[in-house]
């Protein structure tokens, strides 16, 4: 950081000022002119928090996708289907057993298993033909979507998370000051904060895994140069299978987490697949840090679009993608 400040003093100053303004925006009471310009503080702060927490969810979903691509160059377009299947499986298990956590665990394991099976039975035999692998994933997603529709129909399902995860909590951020002088604090759903915490936790765990374990080192080596990795005597197929397991498992896990926040229905698979695509295109394919940055950016863009320009808000995220592609095609944190 000190080197950054030394080398890019101007930009460091800019970032500092922007950061200060930002913090003031959040913690101070808004004066009249600001309210007239931006609308209410409550809207702004809520949207900001929504954006960050949604970004967390998108990171959970996209991290698996980018991991699989980074190592195996496999654009897994069935990733959305894995998300949805994980959500459905988690729902059934949670419903049958009464424990949301069990549903979460089973979803992770089941989808991880499906990932291993896919890799070992199908993708291993297509090594090198990336386009063909991608087409296979498209075929799988078409079939999976239709079969899930057949089994669970078009009804929407809602999870029942444990009580202590539900409800709203007060944050130490002032919304308005009433005429009596008492401050009204912003209320925010606990569950969304949980999602953010989980995302951060998973992100940290992934970082530790990739950067501090031997297996992680092998994976990073493989991302850089696959042939070298196999030349150095590592059982590449085992590593691939493991990575696919983690990537798929993360999708299933995210399915339960996201499904609890936003319910599950057909169509969610396409939605989260697209979100993952945009997040990794913006952040850079193969980079977990890139996925985090991309997810944050996209989450914020989506929520601010929804709150302030609902008509075209949906197109905003795609616009960001196009801009990033035009300016830096490999993504913000992408290599080469």
């Amino acid at each position: 950081m000190r080197r950054f400040v030394e080398r890019h003093t101007f930009w460091a100053l800019v970032i500092l000022i922007v950061g200060a303004v930002f913090l003031w925006l959040i913690f101070a009471v808004w004066p009249e002119w600001l309210q007239a310009a931006f609308g209410r503080k409550k809207t702004f702060v809520n949207t900001l928090l929504n954006g960050i927490t949604l970004g967390g969810l998108y990171f959970l979903v996209a991290s698996g996708f980018t991991l699989v691509f980074g190592l195996m160059r496999n654009v897994n377009l069935a990733h959305g289907s894995m998300y949805l299947l994980g959500a459905y499986i988690g729902y059934e298990v949670a419903d049958a057993s009464g424990s949301w956590f069990l549903g979460l665990a089973v979803a992770f394991l089941a989808i991880a298993l499906s990932g291993v099976l896919l890799q070992v039975l199908i993708f291993r035999h297509m090594a090198g033909d990336d386009l063909r692998q991608t087409l296979v994933t498209i075929g799988i997603s078409i079939i999976a979507a239709d079969l899930m529709l057949a089994i669970w129909t078009g009804t929407t399902y809602q999870f029942e998370p444990p009580e202590w995860l539900f409800g709203a909590t007060e944050l130490p951020i002032v919304s308005v000051v009433k005429s009596s002088g008492a401050a009204v604090y912003i209320k925010y759903p606990v569950y969304r904060l949980t999602v953010l915490a989980v995302a951060v936790g998973v992100g940290v765990a992934l970082w530790l895994f990739l950067n501090r374990t031997k297996l992680g080192m092998m994976i990073r080596a493989g991302v850089n140069d696959r042939e070298m990795l196999s030349a150095s005597g590592v059982n590449v197929q085992l590593v691939f299978a493991l990575v696919f397991a983690i990537g798929a498992g993360l999708a299933g896990f995210a399915g339960v987490v996201g499904g609890t926040a936003l319910s599950i229905a057909p169509g969610e698979d396409i939605r989260y697949l697209l979100a993952s695509l945009i997040v990794v295109i913006v952040g850079g394919l193969g980079s977990v840090t890139g996925a985090a940055i991309g997810a944050l950016l996209i989450g914020l863009a989506e929520q601010f679009g929804l709150a302030y320009f609902p008509t075209y808000g949906v197109v905003l995220t795609f616009l960001i993608m196009v801009v990033v592609l035009a300016v830096r095609p490999q993504g913000l944190m992408g290599g080469r």
Binding site: T155, T156, S263
Partner: protein, 416 residues
Amino acid sequence: MLGHLKRTLAAAAIISLAAPAMAQDGTIKMGALATLEGAFTVLGEDSMRGVELALEEFNYEAGGKKIELITGSSDASPDSAIRATRKLVEQDGVQVLIGPLSGSEGLAVKDYAKTQPDVTFLNGTSAAQDTTLRNPADNFFRFSTDGAQWMAGLGEYVYNEKGYRKVAVLAEDYSFPYTQVFGFLEPFCRLGGTAPQDARFWVPIGNKDYSSVIAALPDDVDAIYVALGGADAVNFLTQYEQAGGELPLVGGSITVDQTVLGSKGRTRDFVIGTPSAGPISDTWDNPGWADFVAAYQKQFPDGFPSPSLFAHGYYINTKAALLALNEVDGDLSDGGKKFREALSSLEFETPTGKVSLDERRQAIADIFLTEVIEGPDGGLLNKTIKVVPQVNQTLGVPYEDFLAYGQVGRENPSCE
């Protein structure tokens, strides 16, 4: 390879040589079109149950001839509805077609109907206004009410009885909610209520995340009119409760129906007292309705607990076709002209009251005003407060004045 091509084409030639199926003399071919694929399959299936219920009532016979039912399927997009309709009419040779299910499909089928003057088209449940209000087709008959009619009585009730004067609107950004909002706001605003443009929130279709919208809702309105569909309504209510919202709600026709009230999750006590309106009411205690529900439950033990408005709409339109066929003794030899005349002047009793048609072949029927109450077992139900009798498409407003409102949209009526 071209040998293969030859073979495929030979096969196609053989199939195509089979001329379109012609109806034999003692049979009338009836087609039924609903969304039997994709996420709306469950609704389409209930629609077919409505058709079969009506046919069963008449013993699959009308005007002395047997009725042969042919099914067509769409995926709720207008393009697929047109292709399915074209197949039913031009390939399968149906003379009467019942359907489609959704509003935008209905507009497309109406346009197609104009190109097939000798075939008679009856609606399924499509509820777009313009299907019959603007440029109607002479051979398209709608015995079910449209989305604006479904809201009849609610605007007046909310203004007079509940005393609301200013409402916010939360609905999905497409034509069916536009129609519902129109039907609610038109009388409400005529009486003097307001719904400012910046208090109208049109969320994109499929949006499940209402937290930002909830945070943007104004505090200075009396109520929020929410026209969201079943699953989205469930999401909204949950998130609204979580955010500590306290404004009373007014519901669209599918916002506080049984699927929403009965869904698993926290008991939504704050929903009690929400008024709504629609073409049917599950709890109407009327012998005609009770008989209909009993017949549905008997014929379809694996159907819904109570017939949905899809089964209801398709049932009424099919019954109308069969009654008119009886009237003309099944004679469709003149291209169905006599049959259509009979349909135009048809008036009959349905499980939800009397139905007749106006001069654009649109239904005039009764609408049900409901309110959410707590049932005897602690669950939530819709109680029928009032039956609004014989609502027409222009909601009692003269036709020219009604047309002057323009097509339904985000800002219609303006009502500031």
